[in-house]
Amino acid sequence: MALDNITLGQYYPADSVVHRMDPRVKIILLIAVIVAVFLAGNLLAFVPVIAFLIVVTKLSKVPVKMMLKGLKPLRLILILTFVLNLFFLQGETVLLDLGFAQIKQESLVLAVHYSLRLILLVLFSSLLTLTTPPITLTDGLERLLSPLRVIHFPAHEMAMMMSIALRFIPTLMEEADKIMKAQTARGADFESGNLIARAKAMVPLLVPLFVSAFRRAGDLAMAMEARCYHGGEGRTRLRVLKCEKRDFIACVLVALLIAIVILLGKIY
C-alpha cells in the first residue's frame, strides 16, 4: 500500500569497492569531500568534484536512478535556491530583461554555483547511505565518537540507540502497514478528506502502533538484560573494523581532490 515505497536507510546491496570500505573512513571522507565542495571558489573548481562523484558512483555499482532519487524530496528547496539567487543577487552585466526583473550574469553564475553545491552535498551523502548498511554506519560512528568518552559523551549508548531505532524502522513499518490494512478492512479511510480529517484518521493507526512499540521496547530490554547486556564497557565486537589498502588509496584520492579544488579556485 502507501508505505511500500519508503526505503529508509535506503541501503543498496551490492558488492563493490565502495561497499567494502571501512565505514569510519567513509564518514571522514564524506566530511572531507563536503569541505572540498565548500572550498570550490568558482564553477571550474566543481569539475574535478563532479568527476570524482561520477567515478565513485560508477565504482559503487549503485544505479544512477537510485542516486537521483535522493534529490527528489529536495526539489522544492533546489528550485527556490536557484530562483531566489537568480533574481535577488546584485550584478552588473544584464543578460535578460524581463521587465519586472532582470537576470544578470553574476547572479546566474552564483545561482548555478549554490544549486550545484547543494546537489553535490546531497548526492555525496546519499552515496554514503546507499553503500553502507545502517548498522555498519552506526558502528563506524560509535568508533569515531568514542574518543569523546573522555568528556563523558555517551558514544556507545548513542550508537546503541541509533542501531535499535534503525533496526526497528522496518519492523514498525511492517506493523504500521498491517494495522493500516486491518483498519482499512474495517472501512477506515486514510487517503481522502482535508488535513484535519486525515489527521483524525491517523488515530486508529497511531494508538496501536505506539502500544506495540512500548510492548516491543519492554520485550527487547528484557531480552538484552537476560543476555547480560550492561552497556559498552568491556564489550568486544563481532565485526572488527579494519582499514585496508583501499581505504588509504581513497584517503589519498580525496586529499588530491581537495588540493586540485583549492588550486583551481586560486588560479581563476
Binding site: K178, I179, K181, A182, R186, G187, S212
Partner: protein, 288 residues
C-alpha cells in the same frame, strides 16, 4: 456472493532490489456458504492471497471478481467490498485503539455511515456473538482485558460489519486450549448460520474438523485443492511440503505401516473410533 480469482499474481516492491513475488498465477473461487481452509507453509503466500480477497492488495496482474464484477475496476465501490467481506488479521488484538470496547467494535459500522442506533444495535449483537455480552464490559478500555478477550473484541469489530464472507488469518494462534476451542466453535457457529468462511490455519486437526474444502499453497501457487478427504488422502505429499496431517491420519499411516488394513480416508476424530473398532473386530475374527 462468490469471489473468483483469475490468474492473480502479486509482486511486492516491483523494480527494487527487494522485489519478491508472493503469489503467482493463482486462480480459485470461494463458493457461497462453504468453509474453505487455506493451508500452506510459512511464506507460501496464504496471507497475501487472503488480502486479495477483500481488495486490500491489488494484484500485480490478474483479476479478483466479486459476483462477476472486477473489484479493482474504476467506479467499483470499495466500501461495498469491505462491507461484504470481513478480514480478521493474525493477532487482531493488536489493532484495538479506542477508549472503550463499545467504541472500538463500533468503528467499522461507523465507517459504513450507519446511524447511532444501528451502530449500538450491531455492537451489542457482535459482542454477544463472541460471548462478551456483559454491559459493564462495553464501557471498559480494551487494553484492560485479557489476551483472549481482546482477540474476541477485535473479532466482534469485524462481525459488527455483518460480513457475508469472513476471512480469518490464523484466528486461534497463540490462544490457550479453552480460548482456542471457543474461537473455533464461534467460527463454526457463524458458518452454520450461513456465513462463508475462509480460514488460514496450521492446525490440520482443525481443518479436518471444520472445513468443507481446502486449498494447499506452496511457493505462491496452489499445490492441491479439494475436500479434506481428498487432500488428506495424500498425507505423504503434505508431509513432503513440510506440512502436518491430522493426528487421526498419522495414526492411520502408522497402522498401515504395521500392515493393518486401515482405510485411507479416515481423518476426523469421530471417524477414528468406528474405524479402529472395525479393525479390532477384523483382527479378532482372524484370531490375532
Amino acid at each position: 456472493m462468490q469471489v473468483t480469482m483469475e490468474h492473480v499474481t502479486h509482486t511486492y516492491q516491483p523494480g527494487s532490489p527487494f522485489q519478491a513475488t508472493a503469489i503467482q498465477d493463482v486462480s480459485m473461487e470461494i463458493r457461497e456458504g462453504e468453509f474453505l481452509a487455506l493451508i500452506g507453509h510459512t511464506g507460501s503466500g496464504k496471507s497475501t492471497l487472503a488480502q486479495h480477497i477483500n481488495g486490500l492488495l491489488k494484484p500485480t496482474s490478474g483479476k479478483v471478481l466479486l459476483d462477476g464484477k472486477d473489484i479493482h475496476e474504476k467506479g467499483f465501490d470499495k466500501k461495498e467490498v469491505r462491507k461484504t467481506i470481513g478480514l480478521v488479521f493474525q493477532y487482531p488484538e493488536h489493532q484495538l485503539f479506542e477508549e472503550t470496547v463499545a467504541k472500538d467494535v463500533g468503528f467499522g459500522p461507523k465507517n459504513l455511515g450507519l446511524s447511532e442506533d444501528e451502530i449500538k444495535e450491531r455492537v451489542i449483537e457482535a459482542l454477544q456473538k463472541v460471548g462478551l455480552g456483559e454491559p459493564e464490559l462495553m464501557e471498559k478500555s480494551p487494553f484492560e482485558l485479557s489476551g483472549g478477550q481482546m482477540r474476541r473484541v477485535a473479532m466482534a469489530g469485524v462481525l459488527a460489519m455483518r460480513p457475508r464472507i469472513l476471512v480469518l488469518d490464523e484466528p486461534a494462534a497463540g490462544l490457550d486450549p479453552q480460548s482456542r476451542e471457543d474461537m473455533l466453535q464461534l467460527i463454526s457457529g457463524l458458518h452454520k448460520q450461513g456465513t462463508t468462511v475462509v480460514m488460514i490455519s496450521h492446525s490440520m486437526d482443525d481443518v479436518a474438523r471444520f472445513a468443507t474444502r481446502a486449498v494447499v499453497m506452496e511457493h505462491g501457487a496452489i499445490a492441491m485443492e479439494g475436500t479434506p478427504q481428498e487432500i488428506f488422502r495424500h498425507a505423504e505429499r503434505l508431509e513432503g511440503m513440510g506440512l502436518d496431517v491430522p493426528s487421526v491420519c498419522k495414526l492411520g499411516m502408522k497402522l498401515r505401516a504395521m500392515g493393518l488394513p486401515c482405510p485411507e480416508d479416515v481423518f476426523r476424530e469421530e471417524q477414528a473410533l468406528p474405524a479402529l473398532l472395525a479393525l479390532w473386530k477384523e483382527g479378532k475374527r482372524h484370531g490375532a
